[in-house]
């Protein structure tokens, strides 16, 4: 008897496409806000105020303050904004290298494929972090060092995936037919392969992004990344390690939560974009 009453209730129903687009817009706005926050809120909260040290979260300081009395919300937002930009830049470079080499390898095959596969294997065989440190050190550290080092070390797994994907498409009937219709390998790579690997590229980019942030933090931690004065999320988290045991949980947990939210937002964005691009799921 309760069912008809419930169904009579008027609720606004969205279809799946609207939900997808809506959640994508929400994530995009969230990421944009974080990205622009350092510019929006200014640098006022970054200065130490020794009279208000180690305050737990309250209305004036939603994320609390650290042992120097700096506002953690301001620091976290500044840090996320910087990490987001560095991560995005490094991950994009990495994704471009990976896609390019994967496509070339899969399309041309033969000796070119053997050489590229060999390079990928060499990169895989070297310890990740050691290579990262060496490259960052060689180019002189700093933001530039982090971006170059992360870009040069993270493309291998994506290149592998894209190479495999390209090989699979390459052996499909419609690509072979395209050759017989007189299309050149470059044309086929551009029109048949590239649209096919774009979803992999997006997923790869999303997966690379948190890696890039974490490695930026790792490099900053050992002192060849960003300078310790810059409020990067990695540096904040490294500092908070000392405070966790003394009960100042907000110094680490809240910035960590912000990082988690940002990465998750990227994840939702990538997943929904993939669904929209794939014609099989785009019209559901």
């Amino acid at each position: 008897m309760a069912a008809p009453v419930l169904s009579r209730r008027k609720s606004i129903r969205f279809n799946r496409r609207q939900i997808t687009l809506g959640s994508m817009a929400l994530c995009l706005v969230f990421l944009l806000l974080i990205g622009l926050s350092s510019w929006l809120i200014g640098e006022a909260g970054l200065d130490p105020v020794l009279t208000q040290r180690n305050q737990p979260p309250n209305w004036a300081h939603p994320f609390g303050t650290d042992w120097l009395g700096r506002d953690m919300l301001t620091r976290s937002l500044h840090g996320m904004s910087l990490s987001l930009r560095i991560g995005l830049l490094a991950a994009s470079f990495s994704a471009i290298i990976g896609t390019g080499l994967g496509l070339i390898s899969g399309t041309l095959g033969g000796k070119v494929d053997a050489v590229i596969t060999w390079i990928i294997d060499v990169f895989f065989s070297l310890p990740h972090l050691v290579l990262l440190i060496m490259i960052a050190f060689a180019v002189g550290g700093g933001t530039k060092g982090v971006v170059i080092a992360v870009a040069l070390t993270h493309w291998t797994s994506l290149a592998r995936v894209i190479r495999a994907e390209t090989l699979q498409v390459n052996s499909s009937n419609y690509v072979q037919l395209s050759h017989r219709l007189g299309r050149s390998p470059v044309w086929i790579a551009r029109h048949h392969m590239l649209p096919h690997v774009v979803p992999q590229l997006l997923v790869g980019l999303v997966l690379l992004f948190p890696h890039a942030i974490l490695h930026e933090a790792a490099l900053s931690f050992i002192g060849i990344g960003l300078s310790p004065h810059t409020p990067a999320i990695g540096i904040i988290l490294a500092e908070s390690m000392r405070n966790l045991s003394t009960g100042y949980w907000w110094v680490g947990v809240l910035p960590g939560l912000l990082l988690l939210l940002a990465v998750k937002a990227f994840d939702i964005l990538g997943e929904n974009l993939r669904m929209l691009i794939d014609p099989k799921t785009s019209q559901e």
């Binding site: 072979q176 037919l177 395209s178 017989r180 219709l181 014609p279």
Partner: protein
């Protein structure tokens, strides 16, 4: 003249699929190729259309070998149209990959203009096969190889496609190789029939 001379094929370290196979198709001729599964029908069609290169012997079109690049004058139509079209392309783009077929041809094959904006998964197998046929029916094609082209289609679509293709072949002087294991279909369509079972038997007799 599409000519296969002493055509042999095998994958490395495996048994011969085809050995010393000879055949020819004249422009405008409709030749049938009969044979049970596993007799190399599909391998032969791929060799003739240049998808595979023969282990020995060669394929010649008008006394020249098949071109390595550029448009191949021998075109193959696959059994499964779903695999022969890019699932990310609209029908319009698929049809125009070489050149957009004449509107009259599209109409003859019953390809509605409403399909042009759709994706392959929105069409049925028979509809897609008509698209695949229309794609290769252009003046640059001199020979068409239909490898079980209508095997998985219903009788109506089968009849429609064959009528249109035969009409086109007659007008454009197109050489046609019809590959099937359906003897009735081949008897109905073809001027001449090659039976792979007999070819193989005569070879064995020659070899003994």
């Amino acid at each position: 003249m599409l000519l296969a001379k002493d055509l042999s094929f095998r994958y490395p370290r495996q048994d011969w699929i085809l050995q010393n196979f000879n055949m020819e198709i004249a422009p405008g001729e409709v030749v049938g190729l009969l044979g049970p599964s596993g007799f190399g029908k599909t391998t032969l069609s791929k060799l003739l259309a240049g998808y595979l290169s023969p282990t020995a012997g060669d394929v010649r079109v008008n006394h020249a070998p098949l071109p390595r690049s550029g448009y191949c004058p021998v075109q193959l139509i696959f059994q499964n149209p779903e695999l022969a079209v890019n699932p990310r392309w609209r029908i319009q783009q698929i049809l125009a990959e070489k050149q957009m077929p004449e509107p009259s041809l599209l109409e003859a094959l019953g390809i509605h203009s409403g399909w042009l904006n759709r994706y392959p998964h929105e069409l049925s197998g028979g509809e897609l096969q008509r698209v695949a046929v229309a794609r290769v029916l252009n003046p640059a094609t001199s020979y068409l190889i239909a490898d079980e082209m209508t095997a998985m289609l219903d009788a109506n679509t089968q009849a429609l496609i064959w009528h249109r293709v035969l009409d086109y072949a007659l007008v454009q002087n197109l050489g046609l190789l019809v590959i099937s294991h359906e003897a009735a279909l081949i008897q109905r369509l073809c001027n001449r029939v090659i039976d792979l079972v007999q070819v193989r038997a005569s070879e064995r007799w020659k070899g003994a």
